[in-house]
Symmetry: C2
Subunit: 317 residues, 2 copies
């Protein structure tokens, strides 16, 4: 196929946006990185960062891509007009295709048109892929109503367990001295309440609830030695597996697993990978999948050979 | 004792503030009511409402009280300078004594200087009383880090259970159609996600998290007929009892129980009252206790006879 037909593929994440120019055969060039690209958190900032990544990828490429394939969080329930406007302002390609970042995570591990994917980072969401499209979702409902077993869920449990420990209502845990480190600079005041507990309250009230997700790492670190931390991690794994079970319902296809909590080197990811056995396919990010989806949109063969070519050419950059 | 020595007693609650003028013998007159008086939620509004109640009580009384004894939420961890300023501006008595509303709830049921009290409404907090003072606390840590078994805790469980039901991850529950009634006016959009679930998300994101406490009543209503509702109520009761146990540690004194969740006519209150037996003493509000504390501050006898006089004279108004 003529290799001068190309697109900009984008994987927009909560902390980093990745962009690459990919041709119809899956050759990638000009891998670039910009800031947070989650439109659910901040649509204008996400549009600006994705646009920056597109401009940088275009400037570094010999191709003249005419299309942008962007995989982002939350587009299934929300429009993202800010991005098309931002691309037009900078004279970038305005032929824009928006897809879910669940799908780019999925296609980063396999080109199979049927399977499942789960991403557990700050949030937790799973999706079923059929005919190469996302046909159903489970969870991804946010920290208040869902995200069972997510980084927020774990960090919230850590904070509540430490509060109960300091309050004399819960078991002593090694998480407590580690959480205290997070707010050593909050002044302690005397009162009827435990001073550290009062300081924990002050600290937690000074930030957005979802910031508690940063405490998840403490549970993962102490899972082998502390009962409270162990329970948090094993319940998080049970939640992830229950969410997957409700989606796949006995289907034996591949399950792509992404996000920091499901990393197989941590206790939650290890348990989930162990339960799924050979069906589990870990992915680090979604840029390869976004590139494969771009090849599909360009009319190329979005098969395993193309995915292998994408993965190889990304590894060289 | 000379009955012309008097004070304004205030019980400032999250939805209503009550005020009464009480003399040194416990005779009450001029019971008045104003709006929310919780300084933790909104200190300026609370100060204004408490001041309004003081002014109205003073205007309706033949006494010339020189002191204000106000029991409010959260003063143990926070100053409340707005109230003294507001009283001074209106030329009301500025001899102000602030106490915890846990103590006024306690003294509404008993004049005993030793005992325990728990109030479970939107939040959940318990305290130990010794020498007529609050000497230790459990929970009351707010919806994010604590309030185990509270109205928020129950309503949050209801919302998550309904979300899981609509998402195909959790058991079917009679709570679902009732929660749907809360947001019938949210437009339904088609998408990969269940339309009612998407509408529930939109609805919950349009208000403050603590507003989920309004769903607690649904769990109480269906506790006898729905497994999910039953579990929520029995776990709430278990949390309340665990919080009390950690505080009283085998001590067999009276336990005063206040707040809507612990009302003995509901499933959570019924279970907690049943477990505590004769030690349980229900209270509806804290105005009698605030009046008893005012008698104590005036130098009167804050004993059972005075409490009985306060209760009788309040009942006549």
């Amino acid at each position: 196929m003529p290799s001068n037909v190309s697109a900009i593929a984008i994987d927009a994440g909560g902390s980093t946006t990745l962009a690459v120019v990919v041709d119809i055969n899956g050759s990638c060039e000009a891998v670039v990185r910009s800031g947070p690209g989650n439109p659910v958190t901040d649509a204008n900032r996400a549009a600006a960062n994705i646009t920056d990544a597109c401009a940088a990828a275009l400037a570094a490429s010999a191709h003249q891509p005419h299309m942008v394939v962007a995989t982002v969080a939350g587009t299934l329930s929300r429009d993202f007009p800010e991005l098309a406007e931002s691309l037009a302002t900078r004279a970038l390609p305005t032929h824009l295709i928006l897809e879910s970042d669940l799908l780019s995570a999925y296609f980063s591990a396999t080109a199979a048109p049927e399977g499942s994917v789960m991403v557990v980072g700050t949030g937790a969401v799973a999706g079923k892929v059929s005919g190469g499209r996302l046909v159903s979702l489970r969870d991804g409902l946010g920290w208040l109503l869902g995200d069972d077993g997510s980084g927020f869920w774990m960090g919230h449990r850590v904070a509540r367990a430490v509060a109960a420990d300091l309050d004399g209502r819960g078991p002593s845990t090694s998480l407590t001295p580690q959480v205290l480190e997070f707010f050593v600079d909050v002044p302690r005041r005397s009162g009827v309440r435990n001073k550290d507990l009062a300081a924990l309250l002050t600290w937690s009230q000074s930030r957005t609830p979802v910031a508690l997700a940063q405490l998840a790492i403490l549970a993962a670190r102490d899972a082998a030695t502390d009962d409270v931390a162990h329970t948090i991690c094993s319940e998080a794994a049970a939640h992830a597996l229950a969410t997957l079970d409700s989606l796949t319902q006995g289907d034996e296809g591949a399950v792509v697993l992404g996000g920091g909590v499901l990393d197989p080197s941590g206790p939650v990811g290890r348990e989930v990978h162990a339960r799924l056995g050979e069906r589990a396919r870990p992915v680090a990010d979604g840029i390869a999948g976004a590139a494969l989806m771009a090849v599909r949109e360009l009319g190329g063969d979005a098969d395993e050979a193309t995915l292998a070519r994408i993965t190889r050419s990304l590894a060289q950059r």
